[in-house]
Symmetry: C2
């Protein structure tokens, strides 16, 4: 009995592990985001609390559904926000864009991602569409976004 129980438990754990992995990897690379609405930009300098990994110049892009969310503060399922983080160079009294550091993605699915405010979080390294950076199912991302409950856990706000 113990052996059978252990085998079942192992099977169950494997199943749970597989579905946890599936959930973790279920946020899609946001194809075409460069033509989406550019919501806003911000530069994070060395010494900022989020320096690692967010130091750089970031642009935030929103798909059509997320456009409405930016204006209303309430996001429907299917909304996707992209945090496009670039390195920058400071020279000759300018700050210019450099290489891409990472691409952060928030994808809304209120049931699937109920544990993290209805949002799936993912990061893609550099220009990769497959090298994923989020290893904890988005828990640490959400820990920071949780402060923004009144705008559905989104930091960015619409500006004309």
């Amino acid at each position: 009995m113990n052996t059978r129980f252990s085998m079942s438990t192992a099977g169950l754990l494997l199943t749970l592990f597989a579905s946890a992995q599936a959930a973790e990897h279920s946020v899609a690379y946001p194809e075409g985001y460069r033509t989406w609405l550019h919501a806003k930009s911000m530069l994070i300098q060395p010494g900022h609390a989020l320096e690692n990994p967010f130091q750089g110049l970031h642009h935030v892009y929103a798909n059509k559904k997320a456009e409405s969310g930016l204006k209303s503060g309430k996001y429907q399922d299917g909304s996707v926000l992209v945090f496009d983080l670039l390195q920058y160079q400071e020279k000759d009294k300018t700050i210019q864009e450099g290489e891409r550091k990472l691409l952060g993605v928030m994808q809304k699915d209120s049931k699937k991602y109920a544990a993290t405010g209805g949002w799936g979080f993912e990061g893609f390294a550099g220009n990769s569409k497959t090298e994923r950076l989020v290893k904890d199912g988005g828990t640490s991302c959400f820990a920071c976004h949780a402060s923004e409950q009144k705008t559905d856990y989104v930091f960015s706000q619409y500006r004309p």
Copy 2:
């Protein structure tokens, strides 16, 4: 005869003046540009040669026709590029977007604007759609853009 000649000359000059004014004011406010392709961004600091009036954080947007131009370096008539210049605030190890300073517009019409490289230039003050800033038909704008002849007088280049 002299009088008639002078009257004709005056009439001609008035006509030329009127059409020069029309040409100067013919670049349309770029309605909807905030949803166009965000091509790139750059920050110009105090002390830069273009500080007045371009100090600030600017974003460049391209309409569909200008998207092709950014990739090919050759712009078809109807291409429009927008230079959206915002003030910025530096605080707590971040640089954040502020109010809009001005909106620069380049509109391609190779015949109409033949004297300035095929581009009509205009600026709109702050968030105004009617307060126009270019007073010389774009001559001074073009004087600077003339250096970029190999990319059809456009400074911005496409980045993925």
